[in-house]
C-alpha cells in the first residue's frame, strides 16, 4: 500500500489536566468507537478509579450534524 504521508492520517490527541490533588482529567479527541475505550483503559488501570466518563462536545456536535442531514436526504 502506498504511504500517503502524515497529512492523510488522522491525528489522535489526548489532553490531560493533572490537578494539584493528583486527580487526572483526560479528554480524548479523534478516536472512533471502541478504539477510544481500548486506548485509555490501560492508562486508567495504572492510575486508578475512573470517577466520571462522559462524551466530549465534539460527539454531541457530530450527533447534531447527523440530525440535520438525515431529514434533508428524505425530502
Amino acid at each position: 500500500m502506498r504511504d500517503l504521508g502524515p497529512s492523510y492520517m488522522p491525528q489522535r490527541t489526548l489532553r490531560f489536566k493533572i490537578r494539584q490533588d493528583g486527580r487526572v482529567e483526560e479528554t480524548v479527541e479523534g478516536l472512533v468507537g471502541e478504539a477510544c475505550i481500548d486506548l485509555t483503559e490501560k492508562l486508567e488501570d495504572a492510575l486508578g478509579t475512573v470517577e466520571r466518563r462522559e462524551p466530549t462536545s465534539d460527539t454531541f456536535l457530530r450527533e447534531k450534524v447527523q440530525n440535520q442531514t438525515i431529514p434533508a436526504e428524505i425530502h
Partner: protein
C-alpha cells in the same frame, strides 16, 4: 466516540511512586524497611524515605485497595508542608509520570506541557494513525 474521564489517582505502581519521590527531591529506599516513629517505635513499609528531621515516611501496600498508602507518625511530622500537601505533591508527580510513560508506550509524543498558576499540570500528547 471521544470522551472525557476524571480519574482519582491511586499509587499503584512502585516504579512511578519511586520516580515521583525522586522528582520531589527525596531519596526513597525500595527494600522493605522500617519507618521510625515516636520513641523508636517502627512499622514495616515497602518504600521508605528517611527524613533529616521528624518521623520517617513510608509507603505500605494495601492489598484491599491495591495501592500504596502513606504511613508516618503524625505526632512527629516536622516538614515545612502539611502531610496532606506532601501526599498531594507525590500523587500529582505519580500521575504525571504514569501518563507520560503509558502514552509513550502507546506511541504518543508530548506536544505541550505546562504548569498552570493554580498548580495543575496540562499535558497534550498526539499520535498519527495510519
Amino acid at each position: 466516540m471521544s470522551h472525557f474521564s476524571t480519574v482519582k489517582t491511586q499509587l499503584r505502581k512502585k516504579e512511578f511512586l519511586k520516580q515521583a519521590l525522586i522528582d520531589l527531591g527525596y531519596v526513597p529506599n525500595e527494600r522493605e524497611n522500617l519507618v521510625r516513629g515516636y520513641r523508636g517505635q517502627t512499622v514495616k513499609a515497602e518504600m521508605t524515605v528517611e527524613m533529616s528531621k521528624g518521623a520517617d515516611i513510608g509507603f505500605r501496600w494495601n492489598p484491599g485497595s491495591k495501592s500504596y498508602e502513606l504511613v508516618t507518625d503524625l505526632d512527629l511530622w516536622k516538614q515545612t508542608i502539611p502531610v496532606e500537601r506532601f501526599l498531594a505533591q507525590v500523587t500529582q508527580r505519580y500521575a504525571l509520570n504514569t501518563v507520560l510513560d503509558s502514552t509513550a508506550q502507546e506511541g504518543f509524543q508530548v506536544s505541550e506541557q505546562k504548569n498552570n498558576l493554580d498548580g495543575s499540570i496540562e499535558l497534550v500528547v498526539t499520535r498519527w494513525d495510519p
